[in-house]
Symmetry: C2
Subunit: 490 residues, 2 copies
């Protein structure tokens, strides 16, 4: 894989000049064609042997293309803010809009390469890291983010010579970083690590290109050529991670068997509400919660009482510690990124609570039923969502999902009541009546969603809400139970 | 000011019910009218005696209005991320879009109230804090963000009783915070502090309302009424902070006296460039820089070489430590907030470099010349910009501004060259030719801008760029000089 690059090939000055004119012209043209089409973003991952001239190549790409439409992200060790969220949070946040290009330097390969270069790499950890990367990259590729990965490579001898040359003058010595010198000691291990990382993560939709880097011209031309080809390439079909059988009638009709008739007396409700809010208040103030977070997703039919339930949950919370995000149709800004981007942005830091009034499940509910997402997209979404929630849970988040279910008859009563009330009328729109007529379709989508995404680590709770009070109590009791359990307070 | 509230007035259950229906109906109606007009945002600042029921009122407003268009921000002590930027950074980031409402809890009054409640408040510090707040609020008010400030107040006796009542049960005891109990000890000082904060910061465009809070109904109705009046009120003219005489022909014609003829030989350039880049690399790696930051704004005529100069500056920087932001016409997303919002978002953390390819000076250049901003807005901008930069400098940022000046003749040569080059053609658009025809207007705007915003703490450097190489060297030398001086490396 590295034989060609380790021969340290070079280009003559004339050859380089010829390529330069060709590449600059073609790169700018391709970049503008991409921008105009506005269909796909491009991620350029920069990795490789330290001291191979990665930084110089990033500068060069910014010079040869229109830098106003390229964003370079350099990721160092995660800062305080980043450590508070799952590791991939910062990469999701940095995704470019469709049509645009981002260069990722010190990317999600950091941990994999670091582990691989250790004296005795932990193979299980390597496998896990590589699997997470493959999942991430195929999700992006399926959602209009193209990926090209450059591995800058040169022989141990050439690397050493390059460092020596730069160190000779105090004015160029800064170009040599401490890690560049370490390479000389551990060249074989770094090389092995790169080799393994590439074999584990090379794919048609996110390919690696090895860039011979001993010669400045050769490095520049090979890297620029790889970027050019990526820009010119049509979208590649990503091997479908769609769930087998998705979209077929759900086998379990969990929502069909609900008992809507149970009720609770007002007085009992008020006593129990005060008690459970007290428990929640105490649990959230437990020092152990400072290293956890709480993510609540509320879904359900219109008028099932999501807003009212959420207000009962937030009452005992400190206003500085929670955020409610109401989810409606995505803006253009959001539409130009992968679907989960806007939810990743809202992932809470440790010690905080994020409440979603409707959520990422819109993909397999409203977007599916209304035909807003193509079947391939919403079928793929079950896996993407499970992956998203797993990353939250792995980082210590307590993830709970609520389906608030109302009977058709009770919904009608509430719709009519809303229309009559001077201060509730804003809650009812023609959309609500339209959705009501699609009741069976929504119900079947919800049934399938619950069947495919209900997991012990991020469970669904289905709550009958014809009696609002009882529903609110149950929501709170599920939350308190889960939080107390997670904190070992039981 | 507090006499009425300290009489702890209350409402009967019937009176409250009557008000509730009226207020809920009117609030929702007013909120929707605001949203539809999409002209002004509303900020509701919540402050007052601890344990007066501020949190309960926030919940109530969210219940009585449509909570999907209200965002509640609770600000605690600044976190790691926030401490890395000027104190007002987090408030700028939280500004709502036009038409929307935000509740600010634990707001920019925190420091002022805290200082005022100390045993021996530092009067100078109080004055300075109040002045910063007045400046901030009048900038927002002038830029379509309306502000209403609620001070929740009750007598010492009522505060004590409220805490006692809540503490009586473990299920409501959590509503009493440690600071609520402290109030009982220091009621007089807290009261005094509130009194002073209100007198120092009350204004027609950002008024305070004292909310009697001993009785839940009275508190709810008074607060909701205040918000309702704010929503219904027309925009108030903010006392103009516009600079006297702004827009008149500049007295100093700094740009008219430039010498464009100086040149440098290629070899000397390359040697000096390597040397100055080396100095910059070493300065930026100085541990002392970890507590500073560097903010560079590049302005100048088209084809004056901003991009080329910026690339020479970034070469010696670590890609993980700088960010280049090219500024073009604002998006709808940005237009719906105060002008400086999008620049505040890009303020670098400590140890980082932010480079702006065009900047906040667009307000007094292109927006002025092209009539994109009304005269009142760009005249006001000189003061707003000076204030923005002062906040950066006060927090340790090194702020430098460059005007790259090209002669009319050289610009023509470069335009023609760009049109002919296959890979530079993208750099030239009809806009560039149009701007060229407005040369004198842009020059006069730039002259005035420099005269009004050139200050020792955030200086302008005017660089003749007919010889690109010399211009790049000079830019770098100014930067290195300023950084070395700031870090005490000279």
């Amino acid at each position: 894989m590295f034989a060609e690059a380790e021969a340290d090939p070079s280009l003559s000055r004339e050859e380089f000049k010829k390529h330069e004119t060709r590449l600059r012209t073609a790169l700018v043209k391709a970049q503008y064609a991409r921008l105009e089409a506005g269909e796909r973003a491009l991620l350029i991952v920069v990795a490789g042997i330290d001291g191979a001239g990665k930084g110089a190549t990033i500068n060069l790409l910014n010079e040869w293309m229109d830098p106003r439409h390229i964003k370079t992200h350099g990721f160092g060790p995660p800062d305080e803010h980043e450590r508070q969220r799952p590791p991939f949070w910062r990469y999701w946040n940095a995704l470019p809009a469709k049509g645009r290009t981002a260069i990722m330097f010190g990317s999600w390969y950091g941990a994999l390469l670091f582990e691989g270069a250790r004296k005795n790499p932990d193979v299980q950890r390597l496998d896990a890291l590589a699997a997470t990367i493959r999942q991430f990259e195929s999700e992006l590729a399926a959602d209009n983010v193209q990926i090209i990965k450059l591995w800058f490579h040169l022989s141990a001898k050439a690397q050493k010579e390059r460092c020596k040359r730069l160190l000779a003058s105090p004015d160029t010595a800064w170009q040599v970083l401490p890690e560049d010198l370490l390479v000389q000691k551990h060249y074989e291990r770094v090389r092995e690590s790169g080799h393994h990382a590439i074999s584990r993560t090379d794919s048609a939709h996110a390919p690696w290109v090895v860039v011979p880097s001993a010669d400045d011209g050769m490095r520049a031309v090979t890297a620029a050529d790889a970027v050019l080809h990526a820009l010119q390439r049509r979208a590649i079909k990503v091997p479908s991670p769609a769930v087998a059988g998705a979209g077929q009638a759900a086998r379990r009709n969990v929502l069909g068997k609900l008992d809507y008739s149970e009720t609770i007396e007002k007085e009992e409700y008020e006593n129990r509400l005060t008690a459970v809010q007290g428990r929640l208040a105490r649990a959230m103030r437990d020092p152990a919660f400072r290293h956890r977070s709480l993510v609540l997703a509320f879904e359900g039919q219109d008028a099932a009482g999501k807003g009212g339930a959420i207000r009962r949950v937030t009452r005992p919370l400190d206003a500085r510690h929670y955020e409610i995000t109401p989810i409606s149709a995505p803006s253009d800004y959001e539409l130009s990124r992968p679907y989960l981007w806007r939810f990743w942005r809202r992932v809470p830091r440790q010690g905080r609570v994020a409440i979603f009034d409707r959520s990422w499940y819109g993909r397999v509910l409203v977007e599916r039923v209304e035909g807003l997402a193509p079947p391939a997209a919403w079928k793929r979404a079950y896996g993407e969502i499970n992956d998203f929630e797993s990353q939250l849970v792995a980082h210590g988040a307590i993830v709970l999902k609520f389906w608030l279910a109302i009977s058709e008859r009770e919904q009608l009563t509430r719709f009519r009541e809303r229309e009559k009330s001077p201060y509730k009328a804003f809650k009812i729109t023609p959309d609500d009546w339209r959705n009501r007529r699609k009741w069976p379709k929504y119900l079947s989508a919800a049934n399938e969603m619950i069947a495919r995404t209900d997991r012990p680590s991020a469970p669904w709770h289905i709550i009958a809400t014809d009696d609002k009070r009882l529903a609110r109590l149950r929501v709170l009791e599920h939350i308190v139970g889960a939080v107390e359990k997670a904190l070992g307070r039981e």
